[in-house]
């Protein structure tokens, strides 16, 4: 009896799911973004962007929050997300997985992005233009495992200057998860040295969230291309010809300083896949991409 009930209910549940699954092509454009900072505020950050796009594009737009960089790539690849605000590395990985997808816009700052190496004052490390070889033997934290500014680039430059793998340079290597957390961990001394996205550092510094008596920037990497908007190649088929260009135009025309502060960028400019060749090469050289 109970069993039958269980089963029939289970079936109804499955039917409900499959209804969802079988519903025709998605009408709502779904976008997401890598959870690079302040995870509790992701929804507040991007819901207004969805509203802006909806108004500009004339189709329903929805933002879905996602917990990890890899999950955004997977959602994009599975067509559960059609547009995404990726980092350099995650964008390259996503476009490799989804042939036909293109980078359409990047922040003005993203053409010349940097990583800051930051250190707790107990280390005695001082800011310099030369690579701080004194970081050897310290504890070190990256950001997320899939981050460009928090992992790929710092790992590349550190290994290049120290001629060793990061695992052999530091006493301990960790992954904080996101840039805000990296700053908090180095400031509290949980890690002595860390690598952080320079935009997040500057923003939190301006907001007074950083105690500069405890933590400071000791080195800046050379510049590299980073964040960009990437869109799937098949959106024109779903929303009509020229849709990709419409999205691109909407992004390039985004001028509202309050909305731009969410990224935070001063504006968006055109981007193309080839802009990110250096990222791909770097990722290959440290073995993150086969």
């Amino acid at each position: 009896m109970k069993l039958k009930l269980f089963l029939s209910l289970l079936f109804s549940a499955l039917i409900l799911f499959s209804n969802v699954a079988l519903s025709a092509t998605p009408k709502t454009l779904v976008f997401s973004a890598i959870p690079d900072q302040d995870e509790t505020r992701l929804k507040q950050r991007f819901d207004d962007i969805a509203k802006y796009l909806e108004q500009k594009l004339g189709v329903p737009v929805k933002y879905v929050p996602v917990k990890s960089y890899a999950a955004v790539i997977t959602a994009f690849r599975n067509n559960q997300v059609q547009l995404a605000w990726f980092g350099g590395l995650s964008g390259v990985q996503a476009r490799l997985k989804v042939p036909g997808s293109q980078a359409i816009a990047q922040g003005i700052e993203d053409t010349k992005f940097r990583t800051y190496i930051i250190a707790n004052h107990s280390t005695g490390l001082k800011p310099s233009d030369k690579f701080p070889t004194g970081i050897a033997g310290k504890t070190f934290t990256f950001g997320s495992k899939g981050s460009t500014s928090g992992r790929l680039m710092p790992q590349y430059y550190i290994e290049k200057h120290m001629h060793k793998k990061v695992g052999d340079i530091f006493k301990r290597v960790g992954f904080s998860g996101n840039h805000s957390k990296t700053i908090a961990l180095v400031q509290s001394g949980a890690y002595e040295v860390g690598a952080v996205n320079y935009q997040v550092w500057e923003k939190e510094l301006k907001e007074g969230k950083i105690d500069t008596s405890k933590v400071s920037v000791i080195w800046k990497t050379p510049t590299y291309p980073d964040y960009q908007w990437t869109i799937r190649g098949d959106v024109d088929k779903v929303w009509g010809k020229g849709f990709t260009d419409k999205v691109k135009k909407a992004l390039l025309e985004l001028k509202d300083p309050e909305l731009l502060a969410r990224f935070p960028r001063s504006g968006f400019i055109e981007a193309k896949n080839s802009d990110y060749q250096p990222i791909l090469d770097t990722a290959k050289s440290i073995g993150l991409i086969d």
């Binding site: 109970k2 549940a13 960089y69 890899a70 959602a75």
Partner: protein
């Protein structure tokens, strides 16, 4: 000089495990990394005084999702498990179930996330699949060990189905019910944890709040979770279950879709080892595999085993400290109530969340993982042993205090204690592996890294190795229990104990 006094096997095995754990300590990394860990701990507990309910709708949403995934996962798992239990004597069913069980819900979630993305099926299967395998095993044991005398009164012409419903089920129903409702509690913990990898349950909100150090929000979530589990027997009623099961799909439903191309791609491309996909030569393939084994699998296995062995012995030590807290042989009712509260809180908090909290405070060494595993498991077994101790009648002239503990109770409870500890061995190992996702270098760390780097082929091999390791420990534990002749009370009707130990 040969002593006439001969140590028992249990005594020798215990010391062997203690020595192994001591040896493991040399290879473990157990320092506190944060410079001001107590500062942060203070902030955490200040948050307890000011729980923040301001995001109430968000909190309620997270709880509804947690409940709905748990109910659907456990209901589906028990239905499938019940069917599997009928054919559990088939060897290959036993093997597949053991294997599925050996993979933690979080690993299943990471796998299904790749196939179904944000679709609710991800969470449903992540709970339902391993739970079905566990249900199959325990239901089969209940059927096996149950009273069969009613069978003799049944007509030989009765069909298998009516025989089952008239001669077996009435006797066993209580066992099924007790075990299934206990598993619902586990399901709630599992469901909560799935949020850590991105499902919209409690863990999602909790980890975000933790990341930002919003401890008042953390406490609001945790307090509500304790309340939910503490009141479980009031809101889980047979009459209400259908309502929950009907409502749950509407709660978890979202508008993401499943594409069969993705499912196919996962099985035919993503998890096929890269050298095969590329058509590498044999030596290149070997290089790829040995690189994976030497640089990821081996260190992962070593750390997982080290953590497991230390945590196992630490759990044992804590159990021996905890059980008197709730035993009338040692404390008056007021003291016992406090003991119960402490043990309930430690038992209810999923070890993953406990480890997460301690990691944030002390930094990612093995120490937080050891403490979390020992506290959680010590509280579970301590609770069971404390209850068993009540059944022991002491003579009026029995010693008090330490004498009572060491000479009267411990010798009588020790077999029971070892049995429970060995039952938890495999569970502790599964958790040790999964804690790697939090940054400790056990197998979970390498699995999570492979997934973050989108190398699903590597992730699958590492998950396979993790499962094998678990099956191995399970077999070893069964061997030791048989060798030491350790058994526990298998009556599910009398108490949840058997269930709790088995998980």
């Amino acid at each position: 000089m040969d002593s006439v006094y001969k140590h028992s096997r249990a005594w020798k095995v215990s010391w062997l495990f203690v020595l192994l754990a001591g040896f493991s300590l040399f290879f473990s990394d157990i320092e506190i990394i944060s410079l001001e860990p107590w500062q942060e701990l203070k902030r955490l507990f200040l948050g307890l005084l000011t729980p923040d309910w301001s995001n109430f709708s968000e909190i309620i949403q997270a709880f509804l999702q947690t409940l709905a995934f748990a109910i659907l996962g456990v209901a589906g798992g028990s239905a499938v498990g019940f069917l599997l239990a009928q054919i559990f004597h088939w060897r290959w069913i036993q093997i597949s179930c053991a294997f599925i069980r050996a993979i933690h819900e979080l690993f299943w979630a990471l796998i299904f996330l790749q196939i179904f993305g944000l679709h609710p099926l991800t969470g449903l299967l992540a709970i339902g699949l391993p739970y079905a395998a566990t249900f199959a095993k325990v239901y089969a044991e209940i059927l096996e060990e149950g009273d069969k005398s009613a069978l003799q009164a049944i007509s030989r012409n009765a069909s298998t189905i009516s025989t089952f419903f008239y001669a077996r089920l009435p006797d066993l129903w209580e066992h099924f019910k007790t075990y299934t409702s206990y598993r619902l509690e586990c399901g709630l913990r599992s469901s909560a944890i799935l949020g850590f990898v991105g499902l919209p349950t409690l863990g999602y909100t909790l980890s975000s709040a933790f990341m930002e150090g919003h401890y008042s929000v953390v406490w609001a979530l945790l307090l509500l979770f304790y309340l939910l589990i503490a009141t479980i027997r009031y809101w889980v009623r047979p009459a209400l279950l259908p309502v929950y099961i009907i409502a749950a799909p509407f709660i978890v439903a979202n508008d993401s879709t499943i594409s069969f191309d993705n499912v196919q791609r996962f099985f035919t491309e993503d998890i096929i080892p890269a050298p095969i996909m590329r058509g590498d030569s044999l030596s290149e393939s070997w290089h790829w595999l040995s690189d994976l084994l030497v640089n990821q699998a081996l260190p992962g296995i070593a750390n997982t085993v080290v953590l497991t062995q230390i945590a196992l012995v630490a759990s044992g030590i804590l159990t021996l400290l905890f059980f008197p807290l709730i035993s009338s042989h040692f404390f008056k009712p007021v003291g016992r109530t406090l003991g119960h509260v402490l043990l309930v809180i430690l038992r209810t908090t999923p070890e993953y969340i406990l480890a997460y909290i301690l990691l944030q405070l002390w930094g990612p060494s093995m120490l937080p993982a050891i403490v979390a595993l020992a506290l959680h498991n010590g509280a579970i077994i301590g609770h069971l042993i404390g209850r068993y101790s009540l059944e022991i009648q002491l003579r009026a002239d029995a010693g008090r205090g330490l004498n009572r503990y060491f000479y009267e109770l411990l010798p009588r409870l020790y077999g029971q204690f070892l049995a429970f500890l060995f039952y938890r061995w495999e569970i502790i190992m599964r958790e040790s592996a999964i804690l790697g996702i939090l940054g400790i270098a056990t197998l979970g760390f390498y699995i999570d890294s492979s997934i973050q780097e989108l190398h699903f082929d590597k992730a699958m091999i590492l998950i396979f190795i993790t499962a094998l390791l678990n099956v191995l420990v399970d077999a070893l534990s069964r061997y030791l229990r048989a060798k030491l002749r350790l058994t526990t009370n298998v009556d599910c009707r009398a108490s949840n104990d058997y269930c709790t130990a088995r998980e």
